[in-house]
Symmetry: C2
Subunit: 448 residues, 2 copies
Amino acid sequence: MARAARLSGFPEWLPSDRIVEERVIDLLKHVFELNGFGAIHTRAMEPISALAKEGEIDKEVFAVSRLHGEQHDAKNPLGLHFDLTVPFARYVVEHAGHLAFPFKRYQIQPVWRGERPQDGRFREFIQADIDVVGEDSLPDHFEVEVPLVMAAAFDALRELGVPPVRILANDRRLIEGFARGAGLDDIPAVLRSIDKLDKIGEDAVARLLAEQAGADTRQQELCLALARIESPDAGFADEVVALGVSHPLLDEGLASLTRILEAAHRRAPGTVWAQLKIARGLDYYTGAVYETQLVGHEDLGSVASGGRYDALASNGKRTYPGVGMSVGVSRLMSRLVGADRMVAASRPVPTAVLVSVTDEDRRDESDRVAEVLRARGIPTDVAPAAAKFGKQIRYADRRGIPFVWFVDGETGHEVKDIRSGEQQTADPEVWAPAAEDLWPRVERVSAE
Amino acid sequence: MARAARLSGFPEWLPSDRIVEERVIDLLKHVFELNGFGAIHTRAMEPISALAKEGEIDKEVFAVSRLHGEQHDAKNPLGLHFDLTVPFARYVVEHAGHLAFPFKRYQIQPVWRGERPQDGRFREFIQADIDVVGEDSLPDHFEVEVPLVMAAAFDALRELGVPPVRILANDRRLIEGFARGAGLDDIPAVLRSIDKLDKIGEDAVARLLAEQAGADTRQQELCLALARIESPDAGFADEVVALGVSHPLLDEGLASLTRILEAAHRRAPGTVWAQLKIARGLDYYTGAVYETQLVGHEDLGSVASGGRYDALASNGKRTYPGVGMSVGVSRLMSRLVGADRMVAASRPVPTAVLVSVTDEDRRDESDRVAEVLRARGIPTDVAPAAAKFGKQIRYADRRGIPFVWFVDGETGHEVKDIRSGEQQTADPEVWAPAAEDLWPRVERVSAE
């Protein structure tokens, strides 16, 4: 069961739900590694000067200082990273001489934002990022590969009872070129306005476009018409063309997004949709942008987002263009184990077998049985006290441990499945639980 | 290869060494879970009031504040946790109604200390903790179980080339009872002095005992004589008794440590030693204390420490006594992959197979082969560009990827082991690499 932590915005799970979270993370890692992404882990802190670069983000940063700091600390103040992209960019520049490009990495760590907590939004949360970064250039096909790897990762999560996803793609150049072609110049204002569409609706976006981007009625309608376009394949392009706007950057974006949709449609039909209202808040994207909906849970917001960036990382001499996506693991968890629980672990402990203790003086016998079972890969606990067997069985029952082992030098060993009550003689060198009982299972909770 | 990060005290590893670290963590987790410890993950921040409780530790705490914080933030300032025990204690009290006691948990996360960085000491480092916590009481046998689980965990690490360990045990009551029996009352001063023995030597400790604990010559000599005692079994007790000091608390400590050494000696001879100079810095231990030496690397300091605490966690009505140990994962890593590298990954990427691309127009064919291999659990990458095959083979070679796959619709598929140069026809539905090539291996680096 999930419990609200006393510090708002800092989710912590009970042990049974941490099993769910670990399983989610393990499956993501496995798919990322199958696709050639290697793990890195970066420090939690970066210079605030590096974190604050991204315009408005600085208000969300947690600053860090030593309680009894020395003078020199103040010269280079540090903050906690608010995503894994900025530290990754720094890591790439710092270690470039020791990396082989294109460099494919994944990274699963907490990040921190000083935002007001709300449903699915936290002050500390775990992200799982994949990025491919090139040195000076990066082939376009990675803009197909990254969302398809992410789709494969979510596909792996379905065995846990996670709903299917739909990845939504757009291209920054497409929006920018369209806006410029329609006669609008304040592109950040256009992006910010369209980005609010799901939250505030078309009328309010039209007003924002007027107020902040100086759009007249025709321009507002063109932008809204663009934002309404979506398709499960490359069909979106004809609809854009039909709007009658033209600009070289629009052509570039259209061609690129078409390529992505065609390749995705060939390789994994129905997985990636073009949805032209996707804008993404962060400044650094320069090509494809992605969001990911959990089908049936669109209200949760995107569970995996990202895009192409051409100039995030640079050391002055070389640039490191990249494309990546980031899973909001904590956001996903908040839905999986939240108020309307969808997924649960079959027990809150790893333990499959509890070895009972007949007498404290004979604890060694129980410990020896446990050692044999563990050496054979069976997670085993020994009863904490030589209480009456009924109490030892209740100890197992409270924890969902399916088997209780009885040690007796005279009559030999017996093991009881406390769910069925079935008890049988057993040899610790040979007996094993059914495969599905060996470790906790993580499964969809059936609807009631 | 390890590289010094530009921010001193914040270790970051290159991808090949992160493979080592992940393998270390995976093996620790596996052994902890085999022994019935479940995972939890706590937030990185605690109220500074909770972190500063432990006397002198407050100077090491990193305080956290929102860059553009609001008034109410200042009322309850937060800091980054400096260990995993304090957050665990808070977690236990906060969630007690939802936990089953004795509660066995492990926790592997970074911790932060504002200390001056030095060899094996960092400002951000990963710890791996196990603790058993009872409600109001905790059976003594867990003081044997915890160091033996830790010994089993280090034993599992030996397959990676990690040297064997020796766990050193003492008991706080033994030292305190001995000091009181010898007529000394300022126990914290005695503990602090003895704790410095390895760093400053006997003469300096004698002076400290005189200056800070008011010890006369006889008392100094008694303390040093006690601190010299060590044994691989319960033999230490006779040596202590021979010193002629008596006190009820000393008897209690002697009996308890004897019980631990006897049980450990029966279950895993030679693993746990009594070493009576072990004092531990932190205030909260009340019984057994442990340190762990990497044999042949004693200069590194303890790689796993802990002890018994009776009153760390309490909600006023109930107390939660516990016993635990904490592995310094980053400290261990600093030796394994540091200047005198002991351990290395066989390649810096997960990938076992690189599928080459004959022509960009035929990239789909290569992608399809890769999908088939991945679906069969084989980590596979596709060449980033349809360059000359020599260049694609060098791409694999630079990353240590052992196999390159050639796709040809006419002549069929071939796979080349680029280490031997051997090339053979292959079916992606059937072919598999040798088991030892499937994932990167982590192995001892042979001495040169």
